[in-house]
C-alpha cells in the first residue's frame, strides 16, 4: 500500500551477516541430542550387560554348588551324583557349551582335566567367578571348594564349572540393537523438536523485526511490543536510539522552519524594494538586472514556503489529526483557489463534470497541502494556453484524484528519484522550483494510507494520481 522507498528503509542486504542464530541453536540442540542418544545407548548397554552377566553368574554359581553337593566318598571309591539338569540349566539360555572339572587335592577325578583353574582357590562354598579360554573359546567359570573325607583323610575337593556365554551375548546384542534404535529414535525425534524450539525461541525477534519493518518511514514512535527479558536491553537500546533520532529530527525541522521564516521576511522586503526600483528605472540593462533579482527572490521565497510546508507535513505525520471530509469539496475548493494564477498564464483548469461524493478520513491540512503541490506543479510546467484536467473517481474503495497536464513530462526520471528532497527533473532548469513538492505529496500519501504515482501521459505531458482509501 505504501510506496516502497528504498533509501528510507534499512534492508538486511546491507548488514554484514555472520552465521545464523537459528542454525546455531538447531545445531547445538542436535549436538546435545546426539550426545544424550550416545550416552543413552551406552548406559542401557552397560547396565543390561551387567544385569545379564550377574544373572548368568548366579545360575552358574548355583549349578557349581549343586555339582559340589553331588560328590560323595564311598567305601569303594567316589560316587558323583550328577543330575543332568545342572548342565541342561546352564545351556537353557542360548544353548551354551558346558565344561566341568572335579579335583581332589591336586588330582583331577573327573571332567575336563585341562579346564582353567581360578588364580586364587575359592574359600568354601562361596563361588569364585573368573573368565578363561578353553578349546579356543572364551568361557566364564565358577569354582567352589569343599572339604571331604577320602580314604579316612580330610581332603579339599575343588569343583569348577564353565560355560560359554552365547546366550548372554545374544541377549546383550539384542538389547544393544534396541538401545541403538532407542538412541536413533531419540535423535530423530530431537530434529523436529529442535527446529520447533529454535523457531519458538527466535519468534519474538521476528515479531519485533516485523513490527519495526512494517512502520512508515516517518514513524518514530518507540517500540512498545512486549518481548522476553533477554530482548529487553536490545529494545531499550533501539528505543533510546529512536528517541535521539526524533530529537535530532525535530531540531533539524525546527531549524529549517526558523531559517525559512527568517529568510522569507527579508526576501519580501527585497522583492518590494526591487519592484519599486524596476518601476522607477528607465535604463534597460538595470531593469533586466532588477527582473533577474525579482525572479531569484521569487524562487527563494517559494523554496522557503515549501520548506515550511514540508516541515509542517513532517510534524503532522507524527500526530495525524484525523477528521472526516468530502474529498470532492476539497478538490473543488482548491481548483477554484488556483484559477487566478492559471488565468494569468492563460491556462485552463478543467474539473471533471460530475464529482462524486468521496468521503475520506485524514488530516485535512496535509491533504490540502499535497493536492496544492500537485496542482501547482501541473500549472507550473504547463505551457501557456495549455489545459490541466482534474478528475475525481471512485475505484476499488479508493478515491482517486488525477491531475493531467500537457507539460514537458518527466524526461525519463522516476518518481522514486523525483520524490527525493531537493531533487528535480533534468528538464526543468528554467522553471522556479525547490524540489520539495513531490516529496511532500509522497509523504502525505504514505502518512494517510494512500498512494501517489506520477506517470507519463499518452500524447505528451504527465498524470499525477493521488488516491486515498474511502471511509
Amino acid at each position: 500500500m505504501t510506496a516502497d522507498l528504498p533509501e528510507m528503509r534499512g534492508r538486511p542486504g546491507r548488514v554484514a551477516l555472520t552465521g545464523s542464530l537459528r542454525r546455531n541453536l538447531v545445531l547445538q540442540f542436535l549436538a546435545l541430542a546426539a550426545v544424550v542418544a550416545v550416552a543413552l545407548f551406552f548406559a542401557v548397554r552397560v547396565t543390561a550387560d551387567r544385569a545379564a552377566e550377574a544373572a548368568q553368574d548366579a545360575v552358574l554359581g548355583a549349578a557349581t554348588a549343586a555339582l559340589s553337593e553331588g560328590l560323595r566318598a564311598e567305601d569303594d571309591g567316589l560316587d558323583l551324583d550328577l543330575p543332568p539338569t545342572i548342565f541342561s540349566m546352564l545351556s537353557a539360555m542360548g544353548e551354551d557349551r558346558v565344561f566341568y572339572r572335579v579335583d581332589i587335592g591336586s588330582r583331577t577325578v573327573t571332567g575336563y582335566d585341562d579346564l582353567p583353574l581360578p588364580t586364587a582357590p575359592p574359600q568354601g562354598a562361596l563361588p569364585v567367578y573368573y573368565d578363561g579360554r578353553y578349546l579356543d573359546t572364551p568361557i566364564r567359570l565358577a569354582a567352589v571348594t569343599r572339604g571331604m573325607l577320602v580314604d579316612g583323610r580330610q581332603a579339599q575337593a575343588l569343583f569348577v564349572l564353565g560355560q560359554t556365554r552365547f546366550g548372554q551375548r545374544a541377549i546383550a546384542d539384542s538389547i544393544a540393537r534396541r538401545a541403538a534404535l532407542l538412541g536413533i529414535g531419540f535423535f530423530l525425534l530431537a530434529v523436529p523438536l529442535s527446529l520447533l524450539a529454535a523457531r519458538a525461541i527466535l519468534g519474538p525477534v521476528g515479531r519485533v523485526t516485523e513490527a519495526v519493518a512494517r512502520r512508515g518511514p516517518l514513524d518514530l514512535r518507540p517500540v512498545n511490543q512486549s518481548v522476553p527479558r533477554e530482548l529487553g536491553p536490545l529494545i531499550g537500546a533501539l528505543n533510546g536510539f529512536i528517541l535521539r533520532l526524533r530529537g535530532a529530527h525535530a531540531r533539524t525541522e525546527t531549524f529549517i522552519t526558523e531559517a525559512a521564516h527568517h529568510i522569507r521576511t527579508p526576501l519580501s522586503t527585497v522583492r518590494t524594494e526591487a519592484e519599486i526600483a524596476l518601476r522607477q528605472s528607465q535604463e534597460e540593462p538595470t531593469r533586466a538586472r532588477l527582473r533577474n533579482v525579482i525572479r531569484s527572490v521569487e524562487e527563494s521565497s517559494r523554496s522557503a514556503g515549501q520548506l515550511l510546508e514540508h516541515a509542517l507535513v513532517l510534524y503532522r505525520t507524527d500526530r495525524v489529526e484525523r477528521s472526516s471530509m468530502d474529498l470532492a469539496a476539497v478538490v473543488a475548493g482548491l481548483v477554484e483557489s488556483f484559477r487566478p494564477t492559471a488565468d494569468l498564464r492563460e491556462i485552463a483548469l478543467r474539473l471533471g463534470p460530475d464529482l462524486p461524493a468521496a468521503p475520506v478520513v485524514g488530516d485535512r491540512l496535509m491533504i490540502e497541502t499535497a493536492l496544492r503541490n500537485i496542482l501547482d506543479n501541473a500549472i507550473k510546467y504547463s505551457a501557456a494556453d495549455g489545459t490541466v484536467e482534474i478528475a475525481l473517481t471512485l475505484c476499488d474503495g479508493r478515491a482517486v484524484v488525477a491531475v493531467c497536464d500537457r507539460g514537458r513530462g518527466l524526461g525519463g526520471a522516476k518518481l522514486a528519484d523525483l520524490a527525493t528532497r531537493f531533487r528535480r527533473g533534468g528538464n526543468v532548469t528554467d522553471v522556479v522550483g525547490s524540489g520539495l513538492g513531490l516529496t511532500i505529496v509522497t509523504e502525505v500519501a504514505e502518512a494517510s494510507g494512500g498512494a501517489f504515482t506520477l506517470t507519463p501521459r499518452e500524447g505528451g505531458g504527465t498524470c499525477a494520481v493521488f488516491s486515498l482509501p474511502l471511509r
Binding site: 560316587d79 550328577l82 543332568p84 539338569t85 548342565f87 551354551d96 557349551r97 573327573t110
Partner: protein
C-alpha cells in the same frame, strides 16, 4: 558280533572304498561305496546306522548328485567318538544314534557350525543343538517279542507287566532275554541311563533280567537276528527301525511300545572338524533335512521324520533331550558307577 577289520573288508570286495577311505585303525562293522567309478568327489560318512536302514537316504542323495560317490562306514558309537576325537579320521559327516556322544563331540569343539537354517528352520528346537548337531529322524525304542512268548491277550504293555511276566515264568525266559550291553554300546548306555532317569523300574527289570541270565548285545540287528532264529523270546530296548524291518515279513515277532514311557531316539548328524570336504557333509545334511530327505525317512520303516513329527508315534513317547544334560551320564565317575551297578544287577549269585 561282526568285527570287520580293514584287511578283512578288502577281501570282501570293498577294495575301492577302503583304498580311498579314511577308515584307518577304526573297527569297521560294515562298509559300502555307492556311486560312479570315477566320481568328481566322494563323501565319507561315518555312521552307526546299518546300511540297509541308510540305503534310502544314500540313494536319494546320489540320485540328485550323480557325479558324486558315497563311502559309508558303519561303526559303533564309542568307536566313532574315538575315531573323531583321538584318531581324527577325515570323515565328512558323522551320523549316530548315541545322542550323548554326538553332543559331547559338539560341546568339546569337534563339530563345524553349519549354515543350514533354511532347511533346519522348521526343525523343532529339541531336535537340534546350536548350529552343530541336527536331528533328522525319530525312532521309538521298543520291546520286541516273539509271538510265542506271551499269550495274545496277556501281552505286557508296560515294563512292570514285563517284570511280572518274567518273574512268573522264569524257566521259560531263562537265557532267552536279550538287551544292549551298556558297557559296549553307546546307544545301549544312552537308553539305560535314560531309562534309569525315569525311576526305579529299570533297576528292578535289570535285576530280573540278570537273574534270568539275559544275553547282552552290541547292536539291535543282532538281537533281531537271534529273535528270528528263536534263540531269544524277548529283546528289551530295540531301535525301532530294526524292529520294523524284521516284523514286516510276518516273522512272528511283535513290537511293544511300553505304555509307561517309550523313549524316542533322535538320530543326529554333525560335520566333524576333521572333515576334508565339509561342504559335501553340509550338503548331505541339508538333504537329510530337506522335504525330499525327510520323505526318504518316511519310507524307511521305524524312522519318523523330525519335520512334522509326533504323528504315528505312541502317546507315551518321550524324546530324549538333545542338550548338555546328556553330558552328565558320560562323566567317567558316574559312568563307572552306573556300569558297576549294572554289572552287579546282571551277575547275581
Amino acid at each position: 558280533m561282526r568285527r570287520l577289520f580293514p584287511a578283512l573288508a578288502l577281501s570282501l570286495g570293498l577294495t575301492l572304498a577302503l583304498a580311498a577311505g579314511p577308515a584307518g585303525a577304526l573297527e569297521v562293522e560294515d562298509q559300502i561305496r555307492i556311486g560312479p567309478d570315477t566320481p568328481q568327489a566322494t563323501l565319507h560318512i561315518l555312521s552307526t546306522t546299518d546300511i540297509a536302514a541308510a540305503r534310502p537316504m544314500l540313494d536319494g542323495w546320489l540320485a540328485r548328485n550323480p557325479d558324486l560317490a558315497v563311502d559309508y562306514v558303519v561303526a559303533s558309537a564309542n568307536e566313532i567318538h574315538q575315531a573323531i576325537t583321538a584318531e581324527r579320521l577325515p570323515f565328512d559327516l558323522v551320523i549316530s544314534s548315541a545322542m550323548d556322544l554326538q553332543l559331547k563331540l559338539a560341546n568339546d569343539g569337534h563339530a563345524l557350525p553349519q549354515d543350514v537354517d533354511e532347511a533346519a528352520g522348521a526343525l523343532p528346537h529339541w531336535a537340534r543343538w546350536r548350529d552343530l548337531v541336527f536331528g533328522f529322524a525319530l525312532e521309538p525304542v521298543v520291546i520286541v517279542a516273539s509271538a510265542s512268548a506271551f499269550d495274545a491277550e496277556n501281552l505286557p504293555r508296560t515294563r512292570r507287566d514285563l517284570i511280572t511276566a518274567l518273574r512268573d515264568d522264569p524257566d521259560r525266559f531263562r537265557g532267552r532275554i536279550g538287551t544292549y550291553d551298556p558297557a559296549q554300546s553307546g546307544a545301549g548306555y544312552l537308553f539305560a541311563t535314560q531309562d534309569a532317569s525315569f525311576g526305579n523300574t529299570f533297576w528292578r527289570l535289570a535285576e530280573v533280567m540278570g537273574r534270568l541270565d539275559a544275553r547282552l548285545y552290541c547292536c539291535s540287528g543282532d538281537m533281531i537276528d537271534d529273535l528270528a532264529s528263536d534263540r531269544l523270546l524277548v529283546a528289551y530296548n530295540v531301535v525301532g527301525s530294526y524292529a520294523q524291518v524284521s516284523t514286516q515279513a510276518g516273522s512272528g515277532l511283535i513290537i511293544i511300545a511300553p505304555e509307561d514311557f517309550t523313549l524316542l531316539l533322535i538320530r543326529t548328524a554333525l560335520v566333524p572338524t576333521t572333515a576334508e570336504r565339509p561342504d559335501l557333509g553340509a550338503a548331505f545334511l541339508g538333504y537329510l533335512l530337506s522335504p525330499a530327505g525327510q520323505a526318504a525317512m518316511e519310507t524307511t520303516p521305524g524312522m519318523a521324520p523330525v519335520l512334522g513329527a509326533a504323528q504315528g508315534l505312541p502317546s507315551s513317547a518321550r524324546a530324549i533331550r538333545l542338550d548338555p544334560g546328556l553330558l552328565a551320564n558320560l562323566d567317567r565317575v558316574r559312568k563307572s558307577a552306573f556300569l558297576g551297578e549294572w554289572t552287579a544287577a546282571m551277575t547275581q549269585p
